[in-house]
């Protein structure tokens, strides 16, 4: 077991090193296959570990080496495997393996293939370190490691200014989140004297009763810690306020968007909340915050998704919104449901992104949906596969039959989340439920809008249309694999993640008490609640069809003109970028310039050395016209200073 897990984690690292440093020696092909095969091996091993842990009850923590040890502060390199980790392992390695394979085709014409493959594998390694962490510091290592990989991959085409800007933005906005995360770690260590998960969890109930002084206020310890850590989660998972980097991150190559900015890295925040659920469940306030932020993001991002034209940005906002669902699932205590959705989402969202990539590839790197249209006959397989992803995202299925209903993956996982939100019977729970329902409607609408604009109607760009071609097999195979996941992951996972078998499956990897209650209430939700999400999804699809295919009038234009202010608000992303630019970016540069020109050069140097020099020059001119040595005057001035000090000292302290 120990060997298996270590192999899973380190195979991608070795592959990255080989592709990165020996890229020239082994060539593009070599780099592609070394990394892809390593990832496939890693994925196979992950599935073995998943079955061993999930069903045979294996697992444990294996130490690799000491890392940062200082006093009682002990962050070790280790791998921890429990059910939560095992789920993340299969999600990360499977999607990553598929993305590696897909990249062989998608990036075939890029001049720096080894670099790209090395970055992808490096990312996977960091992500695996993140999910296998046994303490907060290693979690932070993985956290920042995936941030680095994301930065490098967003800016992969470094000759594009927009890509560079997006890369820096992603890193910095994430750093703002990490600032909160780091403070959370400091606070945990201050209060518990440890950073190791089990030790912290053991002290959780104690912590809930304690308080500490934070910035001059007496604050409840546990709630403050959880909220600080949650700020980190918001950064990584692009939640409201810290979401601005994610849409820009679409500057990166599309496989990157699928792997990092849809399936894995952005879910790290959800993983973190689930991992620390033994702490979160003890703080109702923190959970309420998680719920409200999650629900608001789910709604807010969906509104923007309705109006975007860039095919990747639509999917990006959709990701943002779906992450919101995962968070409010955790917020109402249904951690299992949150992780369930994380898993199904990884499959159908990676599918959608790679499908979009296939479209973009077919269209010769055109991303604007206004230039597409009618592609369904040109790229049939992609078209069919994209529908699977879309229906899964929209949450289509047949409820009530076979006990839990039967449908696409997203149907199962989204419904249980909404039921849990309802079942919480709290103010924030209802808030999340209704925003989630509204979000479900919009999700169905915008994802079908994407389909209709891209694949139906008349082609808008004849030239591109004529040359559109289906992608090679190396790109289609991953799509089929992910599509299989998008179909069956829900049916296969329901019982063990959130159904009858959940206790035997999770076995303490997530907070059991609150999960029990949340799932119990979720299953007891009235049938209307269970039906509503589906009704909304179908309504969204039909309306979308009416807007973009059925109606003869130009409905979208009409609606956007009628509700122009709201449309502009959505289209301009609620003006978050403009606001932040005004509040933070420009002031930082302005203040920096003031500090430099006025502070350093003006005041400090002006009064200090330059002023003294000028003063000494004047003095020397007065005192003596004979001496004019530069150094001499300084020394003289200093001597006087010393003399004054000595005499003053003797006068005040002397006997």
């Amino acid at each position: 077991m120990e060997f298996l897990v270590k192999a899973i984690v380190f195979l991608p690292l070795f592959a990255a090193l080989i592709a990165g440093f020996a890229g020239r020696a082994i060539g593009d092909k070599g780099a592609q296959w070394v990394t892809t095969l390593a990832l496939i091996a890693s994925a196979v091993l992950s599935w073995i570990v998943f079955f061993k842990v999930g069903f045979d009850g294996a697992g444990g923590t294996y130490r690799i080496a000491t890392w940062i040890v200082s006093g009682t502060f002990d962050g070790a390199w280790s791998v921890r495997v429990d059910t939560l980790t095992a789920v993340m392992l299969i999600v990360v390695t499977t999607v990553s393996a598929m993305v590696h394979l897909y990249s062989i085709g998608y990036m075939a014409e890029d001049p720096s293939i080894p670099r790209f493959m090395a970055y992808l594998s490096l990312f996977t390694f960091a992500m695996l370190m993140l999910v296998t962490a046994d303490n907060l510091v290693q979690l932070f290592f993985g956290w920042e490691g995936v941030g680095l990989a994301s930065y490098l991959l967003i800016g992969f085409w470094y000759d594009r200014p927009s890509a560079n800007a997006a890369a820096i933005k992603a890193f910095l906005v994430n750093r703002v989140g990490d600032f909160g995360f780091a403070l959370g770690i400091f606070a945990v260590y201050m209060m518990t004297g440890s950073v190791q998960f089990d030790a912290i969890f053991k002290l959780g109930p104690e912590l809930a009763k304690q308080s500490f002084m934070f910035l001059g206020y007496e604050v409840p310890a546990l709630t403050t810690i959880c909220i600080l850590l949650f700020i980190g989660a918001c950064g990584k998972s692009a939640q409201l306020g810290l979401h601005t980097w994610l849409p820009d991150a679409m500057e990166g190559p599309t496989p990157v968007s699928a792997l990092i900015h849809a399936a894995t890295m952005v879910t790290a925040g959800v993983f973190m909340v689930a991992r620390l659920s033994p702490l979160f469940e003890l703080s109702p306030t923190a959970l309420a915050v998680v719920t409200v932020v999650g629900a608001s993001t789910a709604f807010f991002a969906a509104t923007i998704g309705l109006t975007q034209w860039d095919i990747k940005r639509v999917v990006a906002y959709s990701t943002c919104s779906q992450l919101g669902y995962m968070f409010f699932a955790c917020g109402v205590g249904a951690y299992g449901a949150g992780i369930f959705h994380l898993m199904t989402h990884a499959f159908f969202k990676a599918l959608l992104f790679l499908g979009s990539g296939s479209v973009i590839h077919a269209m010769h790197h055109e991303q604007d949906m206004r230039h597409m249209g009618g592609l369904k006959d040109k790229i049939r397989q992609t078209h069919a596969l994209m529908w699977i992803g879309t229906l899964s995202l929209a949450g289509i299925g047949i409820p009530f039959i076979l006990g839990t209903g039967i449908g696409f993956a997203g149907f199962h996982s989204k419904d249980i989340i909404l039921e849990a939100a309802w079942g919480a019977h709290s103010g924030v729970g209802f808030y999340a439920f209704w925003l989630g329902i509204a979000g479900a409607f919009m999700t169905a609408f915008y994802s079908c809008r994407l389909m209709f604009l891209t694949f139906y109607g008349q082609p808008h760009d004849r030239h591109h249309y004529e040359h559109a071609h289906e992608s090679p097999a190396v790109m289609l195979v991953p799509l089929y694999v992910l599509a299989a996941g998008a179909v069956v992951a829900g049916i296969a996972g329901y019982s063990i993640f959130v159904g009858h078998g959940w206790e035997g499956f999770w076995r303490g990897a997530i907070a059991m008490e609150s999960s029990k209650e949340a799932l119990h209430h979720a299953h007891e939700a009235p049938w209307l609640v269970k039906l509503l999400p589906l009704v909304m999804a179908v309504a969204g699809i039909l309306l979308s069809w009416w807007f973009y295919v059925g109606s003869k009038a130009n409905l979208p234009q009409l609606v956007s003109a009628t509700f122009a202010p709201i449309y502009r608000l959505f289209y301009n992303k609620w003006y978050f970028d403009e606001l932040y630019d005004f509040l933070f970016v420009r002031p930082a540069w302005w203040i920096g310039r003031q500090f430099w020109k006025k502070g350093d050069i003006g005041i400090i140097d002006g009064v200090g050395p330059d002023g003294l020099a000028a003063g000494a020059n004047r003095m020397s001119g007065i005192l003596s016209r004979v001496q004019s040595g530069y150094l001499y005057h300084y020394a003289f001035a200093m001597l006087i200073g010393v003399a004054v000090l000595v005499s003053w000292y003797m006068l005040s302290h002397g006997r």
Partner: protein
């Protein structure tokens, strides 16, 4: 072997090399070349000998090791007393590690007066090592001040256009503080009766009033050296004008002298005053972190940007020292070592492109990733180390300092932690402008990637950065006992003072 005066050997070996160069090498091209080789070999041998210190160092012992003591001026209790503990050992190694790299980095960049240049560097090495080993105030002071002379010359003779202004600014700033320190040392002598540092540490009879004034006098000297805000303005000028290797030593070792002084003198000898003044240090340090980070953001000169970032990073160090808990102090020492390596490497990175294009303007570059992929990788490693990415050296120190600071005072922890964000902003901005983008100028397009000599300079730095980031225990374990003793003594002194105060009442 153990009876060998190994510290003196490490300290004065470079001087032997310097003498050899002066005597043997002539003032022509062959002489210059011989001088280069002689300096390289001398500094390499010194480094290898200094590794013996690490190998033979006993990490469980908190006190000084490899001690040497010779009577010097018995009448005044002055002796030649050397020794190192877990705190100073790594600074000796840092000095001996960086010197050969400096020599190598100056191989072709320095064309005039090569002989004298190499001599200056070897003398500088002796003075740096001696300073970190000295256990007598007079010996310490001589080395501490002596360092100024070769550095002053290196900037003033081999520097850039405004080198004379910068050299004087550097010299006077630092000397101004030092004069006060000399007074303080004299005062300590009158109190203790001799000039032994260890005895001063164990003296423990200084009243608060004495500590108060002594602390300020030492502070004046050390704060300039660190440099702390607002006495930092000499640093950007000195760096910009200094030759590359000068910047390396300046950022790598000389900036550590002030913080080392706080650890060696302020905390052990003046614990009460250290506690009293800690808020002042915190305030200045937090300002340093935020203020200089913002200033770094708007710089147009590569070296100035890195110089300002040094001030910000040293702000973490002074915070860590004065929170006086295990994480803070160990983090501060680690941060100093890491900064010694990383900032040195960053200045060397500037040197690589400066040697090719002879400009430090950020705007003159762009798109180097295209024709200098090796350079792009190396620069990225050190940019990330400077940003504090976990897995590289910068993270460990920064994170430990912040952990310790948060424990001591949440305000300090929070304000200093903003450096995590700002530090990333200017570092990534610099990298983007220099390495990313498209090449627009022919001169830039003609630049060649790093040659083997440059690779040889950077390879050890990259390895050490990774080592420190992945397995910092090699370093933290060595300093554990000494830091533990430092803190225990400090706490005991505060406790004793409180007990006395209670009795008095």
């Amino acid at each position: 072997m153990s009876s060998w005066p190994i510290l003196s050997l490490v300290t004065f070996l470079p001087l032997v090399g310097a003498a050899w160069i002066l005597v043997v090498c002539r003032e022509d091209e062959t002489g210059a070349n011989n001088a280069r080789h002689a300096a390289l070999w001398t500094s390499l041998i010194t480094f290898i000998v200094s590794l013996a210190l690490w190998a033979k160092f006993d990490p469980r012992a908190a006190g000084f090791q490899f001690e040497e003591r010779l009577e010097w001026v018995p009448a005044y209790g002055i002796s030649y007393h050397m020794g190192i503990d877990g705190i100073s050992m790594f600074f000796v190694l840092l000095s001996t590690f960086l010197t050969p790299l400096c020599v190598l980095a100056s191989w072709t960049a320095i064309e005039k007066r090569v002989r004298e240049y190499m001599v200056a560097f070897l003398v500088l090495e002796t003075l740096m090592v001696g300073m970190f080993c000295a256990l007598d105030f007079v010996v310490f002071y001589l080395f501490f001040e002596g360092v100024l002379i070769p550095m002053f010359l290196i900037i003033g003779v081999w520097g850039g256009k405004d080198r004379v202004y910068a050299a004087f600014k550097f010299f006077l700033y630092t000397l101004a503080g030092s004069v006060l320190m000399l007074l303080a040392i004299i005062a300590i002598y009158y109190q203790v009766g001799n000039t032994d540092i260890v005895e001063a540490m164990n003296f423990k009879k200084l009243t608060f009033e004495w500590q108060f004034w002594l602390w300020l006098a030492f502070f004046a000297s050390f704060a300039v050296k660190v440099p702390m805000w607002p006495v930092h303005t000499w640093l950007p000028d000195a760096h910009v004008q200094a030759p590359t290797a000068g910047s390396v030593i300046l950022a790598g070792v000389l900036l550590k002298m002030g913080a080392y002084g706080f650890l060696r003198f302020s905390l052990p000898i003046m614990p009460l005053a250290s506690e009293y003044f800690a808020p002042l240090v915190f305030g200045m340090s937090c300002i340093a972190v935020i203020y200089t980070s913002l200033v770094a953001l708007v710089q147009q000169d590569m070296k100035k940007l890195i110089a300002y970032s040094s001030v910000a990073h040293m702000g973490f160090v002074t915070i860590g020292i004065f929170v006086v808990n295990v994480q803070g102090v160990q983090g501060a020492i680690f941060q100093m070592l890491s900064h010694g390596v990383v900032s040195a490497a960053l200045f060397l990175c500037v040197g690589v492109v400066y040697d090719r294009l002879h400009t430090r303007e950020i705007a003159d570059y762009g798109g180097l990733a295209d024709n200098m992929p090796r350079y792009a990788l190396v620069f990225m490693v050190f940019t990330m180390a400077s940003v504090g990415l976990p897995g590289l050296s910068g993270f460990v120190g920064e994170f430990l300092v912040l952990t310790g600071a948060f424990k001591a005072n949440t305000w300090v922890g929070v304000l200093a932690a903003t450096g995590m964000i700002l530090g990333a902003a200017y570092a990534l901005w610099l990298y983007r402008k220099v390495v990313f983008g498209t090449i627009t100028r022919d001169a830039v397009r003609a630049m060649t990637d790093m040659n083997m000599r440059e690779v040889a300079v950077f390879a050890p730095l990259v390895l050490v950065t990774l080592w420190m980031g992945i397995y910092p225990s090699s370093f933290l374990d060595m300093m554990d006992a000494s830091v533990g003793k430092l803190i225990a003594d400090y706490d005991a002194a505060l406790k004793a003072a409180k007990a006395t105060a209670m009795l008095g009442r």
